[in-house]
């Protein structure tokens, strides 16, 4: 979702060839998951089609891909809007967790045990992130913090749900 706008933002900084753009993106944002070339060029193609970037003349004799991408005023406006607006607080994991709890109750399974297992798995992931923070630089520490706080929010939801399981079972007719 944010890849096209991130690429646009990098192009606002300076026009770029596809390869250089990918390298910058991977350095700053990939975190172990580099952007595939296929996705890069299909995204740039869509951005060009939608008038967010224009493609400069191909340079001859300098490798297979030397198109230069330049952001348009419309593209820059999109970046500005994106950077100003908060992200919609979308539900993340909780819809899955909720579905599992309700299904467990409906099917007569042990929803408590499921939530306990989920809690242990969440804390295990938090343990990995906490360990990462020990040695990470500030950028990775802040990213790990973000993940930790999301996991904490899920855990608070799990605790609240555990406390209300009997009530929930009645409401869903289990």
């Amino acid at each position: 979702m944010s890849v096209p706008l991130t690429l646009l933002g990098l192009l606002e900084r300076e026009p770029s060839h596809g390869y250089d753009l990918k390298r910058t993106y991977d350095d700053l944002f990939a975190h172990g998951r580099p952007l595939p070339f296929g996705q890069l060029y299909s995204t740039l193609g869509r951005l060009a089609r939608d008038g967010k970037v224009v493609v400069g003349e191909a340079e001859s004799g300098a490798g297979p891909e030397r198109k230069r991408y330049v952001i348009t005023p419309e593209g820059a406006s999109d970046v500005e809007t994106w950077l100003r607006e908060p992200v919609a607080p979308e539900p993340h994991l909780h819809s899955v967790l909720f579905s599992k709890v309700v299904l467990a109750l409906l099917l007569g399974r042990d929803a408590h045990a499921y939530l306990d297992a989920q809690k242990l798995a969440h804390v295990q992931r938090m343990r990995e992130l906490t360990e990462l923070r020990r040695t990470a630089g500030l950028v990775d520490t802040l990213l790990a913090d973000n993940a930790l706080f999301h996991l904490e929010a899920d855990l608070r939801w799990i605790d609240t749900t555990v406390a209300r399981l009997d009530q929930l079972a009645r409401e869903v007719g289990a």
């Binding site: 994991l93 408590h112 306990d116 297992a117 809690k119 343990r127 990213l143 993940a147 996991l151």
Partner: protein, 238 residues
């Protein structure tokens, strides 16, 4: 972590009047392990910690420390055990306000019969180690929450206990200060091979532990083995 258990609780039950706090709790703590106990308020997690530490005696069940029962010891023997083999850190430091911070840290050694000079000498290095150098002569009322908790941590570890019991050690601290205290606690405990049993309601604190067990309705409900692997995708990512 396959060494012999340092602590074992088997079938612990304990009621306060008509209110059951523990109903058949089992737990094994390996030597050198950093174990976190989590559970909702009133689940019995602090009562479990107090039984493991010989502060409370269960109505039923056994607590073994290095294989020997401690629940059948009398109060004097349990008191000696707590003093000589266990360290404690509580939510609010619970420093002695009449003593300097240096004397607070030295307190377990003084109570164990160390000379004043030896106890203070042993306490002193902990101040640099925990980043509170220069605060040795302060009174507890002159410390911030994070400083006080680091003093309490030093006091809990100064006598090189077999087990450090920590009950909500960061409960009164802000998140960053709490993390710093947990970093120090885990580092210091690991350096001297101290087993840690930690009660917390904060998942971020539990995440410092090697293992987590859950307590509900007076029982340990989670398996004592390590939890299953989890998906590797970054959590919370949309």
């Amino acid at each position: 972590m396959t060494t012999a258990p340092v602590l074992e609780a088997v079938g612990l039950s304990l009621s306060f009047g008509a209110t059951p706090a523990l109903r058949g709790a089992d737990l094994t703590v390996a030597r050198g392990e950093l174990l976190a106990i989590m559970g909702p308020s009133g689940s019995g997690k602090t009562t479990l910690l107090h039984c493991l530490a010989g502060i409370l005696v269960p109505d039923e069940g056994e607590v073994r420390f290095h294989g020997s029962r401690i629940d059948s010891l009398d109060e004097t023997a349990r008191s000696a055990l707590r003093r000589d083999r266990f360290g404690f850190v509580f939510q609010f430091g619970q420093l002695v306000p009449e003593l300097s911070t240096l004397e607070n840290v030295a307190l377990p050694l003084l109570l164990a019969g160390c000379s004043r000079t030896r106890a203070l000498d042993a306490a002193r290095p902990w101040f640099e180690r925990l980043g509170i150098g220069g605060l040795e002569d302060r009174r507890s009322g002159e410390l911030s929450g994070g400083q006080a908790q680091r003093v309490a941590l030093a006091r809990g570890l100064v006598a090189q206990p077999d087990v450090l019991f920590a009950d909500e050690p960061t409960g009164a601290l802000d998140s960053l200060t709490g993390e710093h205290v947990m970093d120090l606690l885990t580092l210091a405990a690991r350096e001297q091979g101290t087993t840690v049993v930690l009660v917390t309601h904060e998942a971020r604190v539990a995440a410092y532990a090697d293992r987590l067990v859950l307590v509900r309705d007076g029982r340990v409900t989670s398996p004592t083995s390590a939890p299953a692997p989890v998906p590797t995708s970054p959590a919370g990512e949309p």
